[in-house]
Amino acid sequence: MPVMTYREALNQALREEMRRDPGVFLMGEDVGVYQGAYKVSQGLLEEFGPKRVIDTPISEGGFTGVGIGAAMVGLRPVVEMMTFNFALVAIDQIVNHAAKILYMSGGQYNVPMVIRGPGGPAHQLAAQHSQSMESYFYHVPGLKVVRPGTPKDAKGLLKSSIRDSDPVIFIESELLYGTKGEVPEGEYTIPLGLAEVKREGNDVTIVAYSKMLLLALEVAEDLEKEGISVEVVDPRTLRPLDTGTIIESVRKTNRAVVMESGAGFAGIGSEIGTIISEQAFDYLDAPVERVTSANAPMPYAKNLERAKQPTKERVMKAVKKVLAVS
């Protein structure tokens, strides 16, 4: 199976979908001539021309609105946020328009658009440019939210998101663009709303996505040596959430640890924890543990940036806590 980077996988997905459907087009800052701020759209302007790869001014509210209008009349825009923090400038468009037009129009207008871009912490991008933005969006009825963690998931899920007839918030990660992984040859898609067990185990379930997934898998490897068998479940799509796979795993292992890179309060960990206590209460041997970032804006200083986020040690501690071992 070919191995490629997460960035290349996304590039392939965009290319394949743009070839397949002439209504698919890409807009965003520096996506064309500059080849993409993170080089995800490399070579696309050359192949598809300026009508399908559009460099926009720095005006997220404006070009997101343009995308929504285009989607309503039957095109399939892929709107890039240079980093997802900038989606805050367009949040009225996303939450009040993209999410609600299908409902408010009584079903007359779908908004089949994808808003994609890197999100979450990177390296010293500081408070305003390091936010885990999914929490703003998975709460909104009418939006789908995807956060792929591997190149294979990134390609398959981006293709499905572009083909989806609802607005999809597709959040990648700066720190994942360079990671490599196996990607199947040929045409394939991964359905939205389907989690994947990335590693099987018996003693504890860790739910983790995006960058946290990689940390969880590392921790699982280390704990294997201590005789603890960790099952890692990657939700992949946060909304709609595949609760079935998560519950099945917790019924097997009886303990759960949920990781998120956001600040924790009312984060996905609390939602998943509640779902587990609702649907798998009698299978729980310990309360659900959350491992999240600290409740503070992201510091600029490297050591403080590290201190704010989940680390291997904190994850291991959480696992050992639910197992009641030291």
Binding site: T253, N254, Y283, L284, D285, P287, A294, N295, A324
Partner: protein
């Protein structure tokens, strides 16, 4: 001053009680000490007292209904007092108000402290379910989780000990596997049946015996006792002391009491990390009831004469049969005797009454051919089987005790001197 009337815990194992009869009704004046109601517990029917004086303003649990221990069942207050606050917040003793808050690094959150736990058992939901399904009493399982919480592995150990008993494939192998879907073969002919809900006594018995067998490794020692002299003595007593009725059980109680004093290792309890040796001998006698059994306890048998034992036992057994025993009359035993001789049972093995270390099962006295001094004679023999908890008692220890009981019964004048 308004008083909450809560369902009292009338026995160690009681979890809920049923109101059989209210002796006072709403609006009646009650004085402290008055009996408010008759309550059925897992062991017996108890009279519940009022702990203060006033008007019984509110009765919250009706006749025939049950309430859990600690739950509000009524309110006593003066005529004009406002009792709305008491009615609005029924609380279990030691109920957790909130989990302690996890303080984040930056924001100081005042920790919400758990009130000092009453008798609440800490156990994970999984452990509770396992205990329910397996019939274990959580209150006697030591928890190894945080704060003494009972978790899966604490019950897994018990279940392993119980494996081999009449249990179906359990949900708790160490590596827990999703519950196997058992294909039930279709039964071609239907079987008629009648189902009966468990009474509190039945539930309590089920729990105790399961827990006993699961946690105490039992072994059994049997002796055959030549009862001729004991029978003679009993007949003599009948003839000479006409107002005293002495049964064989009474004699066995006395013999056991004397033997327990001489073999204190049997008069003990295994306490997990130590053994408790009791300095008094309180022997329980198993009494069959219509729907179960109960074990009234004869206190300080070692200090009582055979006559006293006979009298006390007689009265206790009568009250046991009419379910009028008080809690202090059926708890606190250090040893138990169970006699099924009256049902022609020759011998049997009994299940130890936790937390005791042993139980003596007595069979019937049988006329049988025996060899004495090389000659075949008619003997009257009785077989007794001692069940011992091997965690506290070893074979030789148990054997010596049993031998002593046999010796005393075969030389029964010791019982009256």
């Amino acid at each position: 001053m308004a008083i909450q009337v809560v369902m009292p815990r009338l026995s160690d194992t009681m979890e809920e009680g049923k109101i059989l009869r209210w002796l006072k009704k709403e609006g009646d004046r009650v004085e402290g000490g008055d009996i408010l109601a008759e309550v059925q517990t897992d062991k017996a029917d108890i009279e519940m007292e009022a702990f203060g004086s006033g008007i019984l303003r509110k009765v919250l649990v009706r006749e025939g209904e049950s309430a859990r221990v600690g739950h509000l069942i009524g309110v006593i207050a003066e005529e004009d007092e406002d009792i709305s606050a008491l009615l609005a917040a029924p609380e279990e003793p030691g109920m957790r108000l909130a989990s302690p808050a996890v303080a984040s690094p930056q924001v100081a959150v005042p920790p919400i402290v758990q009130p000092a736990a009453g008798r609440r058992i800490k156990a994970s939901p999984l452990a509770r379910r396992m205990a329910r399904e397996q019939g274990f009493d959580l209150s006697v399982v030591a928890g190894s989780g945080p704060g003494g919480r009972v978790i899966r592995r604490d019950l897994a150990a018990l279940a392993e000990a119980a494996a081999g008993g009449p249990r179906v494939a359990s949900v708790l192998p160490e590596r827990s596997v999703p519950e196997p879907r058992v294909a039930v073969a279709a039964v071609p002919l239907s079987v008629e049946f009648e189902e009966r809900e468990l009474s509190s006594m039945r539930k309590a018995i089920a729990k105790r015996v399961s827990q006993s067998m699961a946690s105490a490794p039992h072994f059994y020692l049997t002796v055959e006792v030549a009862m001729e002299k004991a029978m003679e003595l009993r007949e003599s007593i009948q003839a000479q002391v006409s107002d005293l009725k002495v049964t064989f059980t009474d004699m066995i109680v006395k013999a056991a009491a004397l033997a327990l004093v001489r073999h204190p290792a049997i008069n003990a309890s295994f306490m997990g990390d130590r053994i408790r040796f009791y300095s008094q001998v309180h022997i329980g006698i198993a009494v069959a009831l219509e729907d179960g059994l109960i074990t009234p306890v004869l206190r300080e048998c070692d200090r009582k004469s055979l006559a006293q034992i006979a009298r006390d036992a007689g009265s206790l057994i009568e009250r046991a049969r009419s379910q009028k025993l008080k809690p202090e009359e059926y708890t606190g035993g250090t040893f138990t005797i169970s006699n099924l001789g009256m049902f022609e049972i020759e011998e049997f093995t009994a299940i130890i009454n936790p937390p005791e270390a042993a139980i003596l099962a007595v069979g019937s006295i049988q006329a049988k051919p025996v060899v004495v001094d090389g000659q075949i004679r008619t003997g009257h023999r009785m077989r007794m089987t001692l069940s011992c908890d091997h965690r506290a008692v070893d074979g030789a220890t148990g054997a010596k005790f049993l031998q002593e009981v046999k010796r005393l019964l075969e030389h029964p004048l010791h019982l009256v001197l």
